[in-house]
Every structure is written in C-alpha cells, then in structure tokens.
C-alpha cells in the first residue's frame, strides 16, 4: 500500500505531483476514445448508397422516335430524365435570354452537346425539393417560359430547362451522357 503510493506519488526523475497513474488514465481514455470513434465509421458509412445502388447500369435511350417539339421521360438511377427535341423557335428563345438575368447563368450550348443543340437532356428532378416538373407530356403545362413547370412549389423552367421563376435555386441538372450513335443516347 505505502509502497504503491510512494511509487505513484513521485516518479524517479519526474516532476512531483505528476503520477504515473495520470499517464495511464490519459492513455487508456485516449485509446478507448479513438476506438469508439473508429467504430462510428462503419456505423455511419452503412447509410451511404450500397454497391448495388451505385452500380445502377447506365441507361440507353433511343431518341429516333422523338419528333421535333416532343419530349419523353426516361429512367436513370430510378429518377426521371427528360429528353426533349427542341424546335428552332425554342432554341432561338433560349438563345436570346441575356445571361446576366439568369439565376444560374448557363447558355443552351453549355447545356447540350456540340452540334446537337436541339437535344436537351436533363434530369426530371426539380432542384427545389425534387418533384418531377410537368411539360414533357402532350397537353401538360410548360410554365410561363415554355419549358417545364413544377406544380409542387411553382418553379418555372425555360426552353433550356433553366430556372427562371420560383423557389428552385439551380437549372435542371444535365446528367453525363454521350451520343453512342446518332439515334441512341447513353446516360450515365
């Protein structure tokens, strides 16, 4: 008993008052703390998308049947993708909008592939809270700017699917895609 207290009280060569026990306590709590934090990694990371969700195959869309002025909804990552065949009038309308008047300034050229300006391919997910905007189907409202209209909270997109009015902060997102042939688009 007495021996332990002496040993703990003053280390040979150590400062008086600093006990060997202090070091052991700090080391033990630190090791346990690091261990506990390390355990959090799998506990948190398991919530992130699993391998099969991430591996969702890319989608191929045949666009040969889409006439000028029409649009279709395809599915990519279980979310809708709008593929729209713009009319010359719609392209002209998108081009004449001054960039500085836009909330998320982008030209139609930046949002389409070179030489394929008539093919507007965007996610069909409103950048506000994720509803599917209207405007692809025949007779659906296209909003004040002739593009897409989100009925949930009233966001309006123009003919380049750029946000023009309403609460959405960004233009409809353009997914990664390539024209694998003149009539087939590979999304993802």
């Amino acid at each position: 008993m007495t021996q332990t207290e002496v040993a703990d009280g003053v280390e040979p060569g150590g400062q008086p008052g600093v006990r060997r026990r202090d070091f052991i306590e700090i080391a033990a709590v630190s090791a346990a703390g690091v261990g506990a934090l390390a355990v959090l990694v799998p506990l948190i990371s398991q919530m992130a998308p699993s391998a099969d969700v991430l591996a969702e195959a890319s989608t191929e869309v045949d666009i040969s049947a889409i006439a000028v002025g029409q649009a279709i909804k395809a599915v990519f990552r279980k979310q809708p993708v709008f593929v729209r065949h713009l009319t010359p009038a719609e392209i002209a309308e998108a081009d004449k909008v001054p960039l500085e008047s836009l909330r998320d300034p982008q030209t139609l050229e930046q949002r389409t592939k070179p030489g394929k300006t008539q093919w507007l391919i965007t996610m069909g997910v409103c950048t506000h809270l994720g509803c599917v905007p209207l405007g692809t189907g025949q007779g659906e409202p296209k909003g004040e700017f002739g593009g897409y209209f989100c009925p949930c909270h009233g966001s309006q997109y123009d003919t380049a699917a750029r946000i023009r009015k309403g609460p959405a902060p960004k233009n409809l997102q353009v997914p990664d895609y390539v024209f694998s042939s003149p009539t087939v688009v590979k999304i993802g």
């Binding site: 919530m47 998308p49 909804k73 279980k78 994720g130 509803c131 009925p151 009233g154 609460p167 902060p169």
Partner: protein, 433 residues
C-alpha cells in the same frame, strides 16, 4: 421532490411489504401518479392533455407493434402488404385506421398541451426543463410521424419522402452528400424505406424515454396551475389520486368519443386519396401537401419565394430554398428560447391583459398558416403565408419580450386556495392583511 404534506405509502398486505423492501415499484407509482402526489386543486380541463398525450403514445405503440407484424418494408411489397392489412388481416383495418388516425389524435392533443403551456406560462422558471424536454418530444414526434407516413409507399408517401429529405439538400456544401447519405441512394427507394421503418419502430420508444424525463422534471417543482401562483400550503393541493385520476378519466372518455368517431365514421377524412396509388417515381401528384399537423410549418417553408440578395445586384446571400428551410426549422427551435424571451414574472395569461391579446393573435396566425400550408402554392396563399410567417417570428422575437417589459399585470390572488374559495386562512393570518 414532493410537498411535505404528501401522503406516505404504507403497504399493509405482507406480499406488498415484501415487494416494497425489494423493488419499491408500487411506492414509485403511488408517489408519481397516486395519492402520494399532491397537485394544485384548481387545475382545469386544459391540464388533461398531458395524460391524454401519454395515452395516445401508448395507442400508437400498441397498434404500431401489431402492424409491424403484418407489414413488409420492401418497395416491391410495402403497398400491397398495407392493403393486405386492410383487407385480409383480422381487424387489420381497425388497427391501421386506429394507428393513422391515432397520429392525428396525438397531434391534436399535443397541440392543445403546447398551447396550454403557452397561455399559462408553464415554460417559466422553475419549469424550463419540462418545456425544453417537451419541445424535444415534439421534434421526435414530427420525425416519427413523417417516417411512418412513408411506410405504405403510396404516392404521397413517396413524394413526401422526396420533398422532406430534399430539405437537407438546401444545406450549403454538404447538402447533396447528406441527402444521398440519408436516403442511401439518389431518390427514395428500398434503402430509404427500410431505414425509415427501422427508425419509425425505434423512435416511439425514444419518445417514451424522453416522456419519462419530462414527467420526472415535472415532479420536481410540481404541476403549474391556472393562476400561475405556486403552491403555498396543503389547502392549495389535492392528492392526484383519486381527484385527478377521476378528472383525467372523464377527459379520456370524452377524447375516446371523438377519436372513435373519427376512426369508425371518417377514417379517411384526414388522409389523401393519392396515397391509395402505389408510389411512382416518375409522376408527381398535382398537389402534394403533408399531413394536416405539418401545415403551419409547411406554409413557413413555402413562404420564401425569392433569394436574399444585395439589392440591385445579382449577388445572392442566401438562396430562397435555404431561407425556407431555415425558417421552418427556426419556427420550432424558437420554442427552446421561449423561457428567456418572455421575461414577465407573472406566469398565467389570466393576469396579463396585453399578453392575452398577443396570445390569441398567435393562435389565429398559426391557424392561418395551417390553412395556407394545406392550400396550393399559388396566390393569394403565398402572400398570406408570407405575412403570417413574418408575424409568427415577430410574436416570439419582438412582441413577447416587449410586452414583458411594458405590461402591467393584474393583481394575483394570494394563493390557489384564495382563487378557488375567495379567501385563504393563511392570507388573513398574514401580518400585512
């Protein structure tokens, strides 16, 4: 803690004596909700809602655990397993309608409980902790109710999940990653449905735990009362049992009358027909609204339609989407600050004429917000909800602190006994009299 005149538990039966020495559970019940708990004698019917809320929680847990025995949390079968409960499971229709309408009933009761607290100043010292725990319970209830609504995997379930989890994507920088992490994907799908089911099962028991803390904190100063004057002597109190067990029992019967009326005669009155359509990720319903109990907060979310920008420039300080989300969360988080925003020493609205007017104005304001939140996102509802949302925050941050400073309260009764009987022997004995 209890008052010194509280009755003491004295078991007479040898078995109860034996139990009391080993696990004094009957003693605990006796002192918490029995004859050993003295309660102000003047509690009115607004004080029934705490017990009713506890009852609702138990209804939800019992019906919910049973529903979980028949439900399957998989996007392929979730909708049909819900219909299986409705059509094939014995009494399944009653259990599910009871659970769905039980959620509405729970919120009715809890809103009454909250607004009781707001009127009678139940959040003031020494009861701040009870109030704070109550706000935590309310937030947990909102999360639980939201996730429960997703489980049937109908159109409203899916799009509710899409919109509400979309709120998190408004957070700068981290938002999109957080959104994907919460859902376990890029849109609500099997991963999201499964975790919502798991959490929807867990959270009610977390709520139960916080409710126990809430009641524990209540037992330290004891119940507030309509005068807001603290208990001074034994004549101010009656034992909880039989006085308030009887009064709460009567209140429970009245509550059950309305609850059963809703459950058996109007089971779908508060639901949405769209939720009887299987979830379709490619088709948003024309008019998505949350359940009625979220409408006031939903109206605040939608009230923000333009960015906060530096005037005459295009420099956006806070985008509209983030503003709406921040405002919606703040509208509840402000309750955490309430005990320190209302600095008047008088608790009860009975004795605060100016506060009383502001209180009723707030009630009207919240009803207007609720109405707008349930309406389509178009004029005039957008403008009305903007004004009502502005008033909501004005009430808590400006009006309430200001009233506390300038208001002259009406004279308080000497004691609870005096307020009930018109006289109090202790009052007449006081030298000042």
């Amino acid at each position: 803690m209890s008052f010194p005149w509280a009755k003491h538990y004295q078991p007479t039966h040898p078995a109860m004596v034996w139990l009391d020495e080993r696990l004094p559970l009957p003693r605990f019940v006796y002192n918490s909700v029995g004859a050993g708990f003295p309660v102000p004698r003047n509690l009115n019917y607004m004080w029934n809602f705490g017990v009713l809320a506890g009852f609702c929680l138990m209804v939800q847990i019992v019906t919910g655990v049973i529903l979980a025995m028949h439900y399957a949390a998989n996007t392929d079968v979730a909708f049909s397993s819900t219909e299986h409960i409705m059509r094939d499971v014995n009494w399944g229709w009653m259990l599910r309608y009871g659970h769905a309408n039980g959620a509405s009933a729970f919120f009715v009761v809890v809103y009454a409980h909250i607004f009781r607290g707001l009127y009678f100043g139940s959040y003031k010292a020494p009861r701040e902790m009870i109030w704070l725990l109550g706000v935590v319970i309310f937030l947990l209830m909102m999360a639980t109710a939201f996730m429960g609504y997703v489980l049937p995997w109908g159109q409203m379930s899916f799009w509710g999940a899409q919109v509400i989890t979309g709120l998190f994507s408004a957070i700068p920088l981290l938002g999109d990653a957080l959104h994907t992490w919460l859902l376990g994907g890029f849109a609500p799908d099997n991963a999201a449905l499964n975790r919502f089911f798991s959490l929807h099962f867990l959270l009610p028991f977390v709520i139960l735990g916080v409710v126990i803390l809430h009641i524990w904190a209540l037992h330290i100063p004891g119940s507030s009362n309509p005068t807001g004057v603290e208990v001074k002597s034994e004549s101010d109190t009656v034992p909880f049992h039989p006085y308030y067990t009887a009064k709460d029992g009567f209140g429970l019967a009245v509550f059950l009358f309305f609850y059963c009326g809703l459950l058996f005669f109007f089971p779908n009155a508060l639901g949405h027909p769209d939720n009887y359509i299987t979830a379709n990720p490619l088709q948003t319903p024309a008019h998505i609204v949350p359940e009625w109990y979220f409408w006031p907060f939903y109206a605040i979310l939608r009230a923000f339609t333009s960015d906060l920008a530096i005037p005459f420039t295009h420099i956006v300080l806070v985008p509209a989407k983030l503003l709406g989300v921040l405002a919606m969360f703040s509208s509840i988080l402000v309750w955490f600050a309430l005990p320190w925003l209302d600095t008047s020493p008088v608790r009860s609205g009975h004795y605060r004429p100016t506060f009383r007017k502001a209180y009723w104005a707030l009630v009207v304001d919240v009803v207007i917000l609720g109405y707008c939140g349930g309406s389509p996102a178009e004029e005039p509802f957008v403008m009305i909800s903007q004004l009502a949302a502005a008033y909501y925050f004005l009430h808590f941050f400006i009006i309430l602190p200001l009233i506390s400073l300038v208001e002259t309260p009406q004279p308080l009764p000497f004691s609870i006994t005096e307020s009930v009987l018109g006289r109090d022997e202790h009052a007449t004995l006081a030298p000042a009299e």
